[in-house]
């Protein structure tokens, strides 16, 4: 049934466009352009399967549509009476089986390759939290959190959305190009999943277990991904950004991070005044607490308690500190002892006790938090209400 060659060319051209990388970028029809060999292998495998499926579809439904047109009562076609044929059944069982075997072989090779995490050049531990990622570079001894950095007003629609809306973070994962990066992935609370499509790496983050994955980025660039395992209300708001840079830039970045870490350690023995505490505390609150308790401390009735006007914020300061450090087991209130430094905890406690309608006048200093840490480690958090 070959009709005009214009049609033929258009169809072939369209299919070729879809299968090539980068074509029709605004209306994306295929996987993202690969930036690693693994992603390229998966891209190719998917193209192969699509071609096979398309072929089978055209044959089978070509026959069906032909039949719908020709074998109609309204065209006077009389019904035949055949209703079984063992030969034909065998043929259309064996042929699909053979086709599948043909697909299984290249697929198995890629499975084995994706699972081989040996001989890494560097190793990064990735921890999923509700709702951010934590990265620990085990070779270079750097640790930091990576939070969504899209401003709230863009989400709420009162400001225009930036180009990388929902796919931007405050601290990206930075890795050198062309190096095998092994990821040790875990979670702090519930299931999460770390994924960067262009790099072809996805691995579920399971609390209490470490599972590994790996990638080797071929090209310098910035690659973006998202959490892909439902983890609560802000599941859609904890993206991943991987910046692949040259080896020199990577070394410079590592040095910078180490410097910043030293500053943070120093902060833990400083004494701050109220103004400094309130400023720092507000930042900590917005980055860590506002997701549930809201920026204005009002919480969400029935789901997340208010801090504004609460007994915790006006009661004994040690209880407030312990609650933040140890969380409330059995609820979504995480333990922040390991996530926040002494200075950050002191700041956020101070802020929460003096912001909005709270006017306790209390102030905490980093050294006090440190003291409470060593005492608090042996206590469990308050029981769920």
């Amino acid at each position: 049934m070959m009709k005009a060659s214009v049609w033929h060319r258009a169809v072939v051209g369209g299919i070729a466009g879809v299968f090539s990388q980068g074509a029709l970028a605004e209306y994306a029809f295929n996987l993202q352009p690969p930036a690693s060999q693994v992603a390229q292998d998966v891209f190719n495998l998917h193209n192969l399967i699509m071609l096979v499926c398309l072929g089978i579809f055209i044959v089978v439904f070509g026959a069906m549509f032909y039949s719908l047109l020709k074998h109609r009562k309204s065209k006077g076609h009389q019904a035949a009476h055949f209703h079984e044929n063992t030969t034909v059944e065998v043929i259309w069982t064996v042929i699909p089986f053979v086709i599948l075997m043909g697909m299984a072989y290249p697929a198995a090779k890629v499975v084995i390759d994706m699972k081989d995490t040996s001989n890494p050049d560097l190793t990064i531990k990735v921890t999923g939290y509700q709702w951010k990622w934590g990265y620990d570079y085990l070779n270079d001894d750097i640790s930091f959190y990576s939070n969504l950095s899209t401003p709230r007003d863009q989400i709420e629609g009162t400001a225009e959305k930036g180009e990388h809306y929902l796919l931007e973070v405050d601290e990206p994962m930075v890795v050198p190009v062309g190096k095998r990066v092994r990821l040790l992935i875990t979670a702090n609370d519930v299931l999460h999943s770390w994924w960067v499509p262009a790099l072809g790496a996805k691995q579920d983050a399971i609390p209490g277990f470490i599972r590994d994955s790996w990638f080797k980025a071929d090209k310098i660039g910035t690659y973006r991904g998202q959490c892909v395992e439902l983890c609560g209300k802000d599941h859609g708001f904890m993206p991943i950004v991987v910046e692949v840079v040259s080896e020199e830039d990577y070394a410079a970045w590592v040095a910078g991070k180490k410097g910043a870490a030293q500053v943070a350690v120093a902060d833990d023995s400083k004494t701050f005044d109220m103004a400094e505490m309130m400023t720092r505390g507000e930042q900590v609150h917005l980055a860590n607490c506002a997701a549930c308790h809201q920026a204005n401390g009002a919480g969400i009735p029935g789901a997340f308690p208010a801090i504004n006007g609460s007994k915790v914020a006006s009661g004994p300061i040690e209880d407030h500190v312990r609650l933040v450090m140890n969380g409330r087991p059995g609820t979504a209130m995480a333990a922040f002892a390991d996530q926040l430094s002494d200075a950050d905890i002191a700041a956020v406690i101070t802020y929460q006790r003096n912001a909005w309608d709270n006017k306790s006048g209390d102030m905490a200093q980093p050294v006090e938090i440190a003291a409470l840490r060593s005492g608090a480690e042996s206590e469990a958090g308050a029981p769920a209400q």
Partner: protein, 528 residues
Amino acid sequence: MSDAAHAHGHHDEHSHGHPTGIMRWLTTTNHKDIGSLYLWFALIMLFAAGSMALLIRAELFQPGLQLTNPDFFNQLTTMHGLIMIFGVIMPAFSGFANWQVPLMLGAPDMAFPRMNNWAFWILPVAGLLLMTSFFLPGGAVAGGWTMYPPLFIQGGISYDLTILAVHIMGLSSIMGSINIITTILNMRAPGLTLMKMPLFVWTWLITAYLLIATMPVLAGAVTMLLTDRNFGTHFFNAAGGGDPVMFQHIFWFFAHPEVYILILPAFGIVSQVIPTFARKPLFGYASMVYATASIAILSFIVWAHHMFTVGMPVAAQLFFMFSTMLIAVPTGVKVFNWVATMWRGSMTFETPMLFAIAFVCLFTIGGFSGLVLAIAPVDIQLHDTYYVVAHFHYVLVSGALFAIFSGIYYWLPKWTGHMYDETLGKWHFWLSVIGMNIVFFPMHFLGLAGMPRRIPDYALQFTEFNQIATVGAFLFGFSQLIFLAVVLKAIKGGAKATDQVWEGAEGLEWTVPSPAPYHTFETAPVVK
């Protein structure tokens, strides 16, 4: 439906002492009544869960949060899934089983008519638990219909009530399945051997076995969730020596066969409809039985293809990939057999046939995306993205739901005694087919491009396809009102239906009058 039948010309029924009004429906042990109850329940739940879908699509029309907050959005997606699976598709197929299995076997009723009544009536209780959970403190369950811990351990009181609802629905399915298996094995008319049964009965026989083999496992899994939540156990808590992934294994051991539970009766319906309107016997009856049985057996060894990203050893990834690819073979055999049934038939295209043909074509598209997902390395990129959402909506909407529509249009005249409005039926069909494709085809592209599932807001590059999907959703959703109109109109009146209704129809149900009398086959027919 039966209520019209009741009034029609069977005044002597009243002398049996049958209650009327509400008590009739509450206490009925009649398979036709109970079939109707299941179908009405499913229809109401369809509109409830469908409305949730429209809210979801409305929020996703543009990036940003316009209508819902993220937690409520997660409640909507979770409840939409739970209700569609347990409140719509499964009860609808149970409704078909109740109406049709005794009629097709020449049996007077189901094996256990009173248990039949209980199996139905606990469902609205469960449905009520689910629907009212939105109004409880903390809102409805928001952890996905898959209920993964540890997230599922964090939620409020509605999570415990949802577990109770799941137990109740499981019990309903188990009771229903015991009834169906026993009826099929023990109550066939003399001469009706297993290999002479209509394929619809075969598919339900196999489905019922699947239900009995998997619902208890689900019950075990959610019981463990309940005790982890309330009684200090730590089945799924690593800190206590447990493993969240163990839940996934147990859950998917149930849930993979569950998806075949959701489709096998559809295969059965389509296998009745196509031969009727092609005026030609089903091609390869024995093959179809073996293929269905193979699919059912294979369904027990593929579950971890839902878990390719948890970090399984290579051997396990390969095993589950191969076994999953294998299921494509018997499924393909069925598709070829349907096409061969049409081939050189004498086809007419009334509404049941339209839906059946759409089923064959569109379900296959869903099957192909399933094959793509079976390839583990590709699944690594597509797991938990909109590609999966596209896949399962193709098999469940243009698969299961379209088969249900096909069956309703096919058997409505037998149930009500009236021909439905063919023009309205065709409108319903075309709007549904076009609408459904507009919603779900773009989702393949969204998944490939990297859009995750279960997110209320998305990055800008996903905007265009989301907008297209939302428009399609409203078209599809509102078209279902036409279906409601068709059903109500057919109950009230319409052209009188003959016994056989359709020129090419064969089977015991077409030997009784339309509407089918309240009691049929009180004496067993003899089948040659």
